[in-house]
Subunit: 237 residues, 2 copies
């Protein structure tokens, strides 16, 4: 709490007065009370981004699944388990000036999770039917009213990274996609570094491989610049 107070006191930066929503970590989709499906995500990149935004003066709402790393100081933490809970928390946190969707949300949930532990019965294997989870990034990107001025998504891909991420940006309707290659051989998943490409309406800009804190700092600076420009734009009209 002392650290948070110091952060807040120091945080007289370019994002002062701005509310930024950040999602982080994986979601856990229950199969039964003891089993679940998840996406790999330590929450490290989302946490670093939230921290960088706070350091620049933003008020950050941090909606997080069960991550490996603790949430940063100085944010409003909303803890959730499933994609559906994350969507509800995100909608409750709006309006926001910007939103960064760094969580690794499960695309699918188990259609009817069992209330009791599924038993092994002889050699019969369970069959699991899936249902599609809500698309949080698309939902917020396509809001008719109350859309954040800047919506940033992530694309964790294993092949054709730029092509997949560029198509994802258009399909979802967000402003930027930070795309990265999470093939096991890159060592990025679970590691301290990240190698991202920033995809916007007019370009795909590869950033050098750097620490997740450095990626966060660069992104937070870009968000601050962009919000300042769009505010000036609005003031001029």
């Amino acid at each position: 709490e002392i650290v948070a107070a110091v952060d807040a006191a120091l945080a007289d930066g370019p994002l002062k007065g701005k509310h930024v929503l950040v999602t982080s970590g994986p979601t856990h989709e229950p199969i039964d009370p003891v089993r679940y499906i998840a996406n790999r995500s330590s929450g490290a990149q989302g946490t670093a981004i939230a921290k960088a935004l706070v350091a620049r003066g933003a008020h950050v709402t941090f909606v997080t699944g069960p991550a490996d790393v603790p949430p940063p100081h100085g944010v409003d933490v909303v803890s959730i388990q499933t994609a559906q809970e994350m969507l509800t928390a995100v909608q409750a946190a709006l309006p926001a000036d910007a939103a960064v969707f760094a969580a690794a949300v499960a695309d699918w949930r188990v259609e009817s999770a069992s209330d009791s532990k599924i038993k092994k019965s002889g050699k019969k294997l369970p069959t699991i039917a899936f249902a599609e989870n809500p698309d949080i990034l698309a939902t917020v990107s396509q809001l008719k009213t109350g859309r954040p001025a800047l919506v940033v998504g992530f694309a964790a891909e294993t092949d054709d990274v730029i092509a997949h991420a560029t198509a994802k940006r258009e399909r979802k309707g967000c402003d930027w996609i930070l795309a990265n290659d999470v093939s096991p051989e890159t060592g990025i998943m679970g590691g301290a570094e990240n190698a991202v490409t920033l995809i916007s309406a007019d370009k795909a800009e590869p950033w050098p491989r750097m620490g997740k804190d450095a990626v966060a700092a660069r992104l937070a600076d870009l968000i601050a610049e962009t919000l300042a420009t769009s505010a000036k734009g609005r003031a001029a009209t």
Copy 2:
């Protein structure tokens, strides 16, 4: 390392000279490079048991999946992800005087995990075929040669706890089962306390609800007594 050295120096207890194998944490079964199926397990109970065994002088091999809590000091840590890797690590760690299988091993794995990220394609949902994982507890319990003198399993159940766990003990061939009720309403899963029933060949003994450290201490004392008795038995024949 200083703590571990102090632990080792202090650990001139009833389990001195004994090798105990402990498994802990969940296993993660990959669906593709970014998605996996897991059992809920913080690793807290297995870690507490390993710590209690070390404190009583045991040499502990600690085979752990991706747990929330760090492994205890003074053990030999073997980190694994999947049930198949856990079985291999367990077999490599034998012989042992006793084995405590506290890990929450996934019963099933995905039959053919994808090497690349499964994409959402239109409205089509993926179908996942499962294969049965090796049964580590049964495999070790039923070893013809080199079976540990004492094999302890866990049963995390949500209904008919004692009946299910008693049947499990007989089916697997282990000596003891520590059974607990992990229904969400008990608050045990992920919490600091546990309420177990020790099931052996001749009784089901409910232990009062207590901290996971206290459960670990009581179990470690029982293991020490039992190994001392069986050693005396062998010496007498």
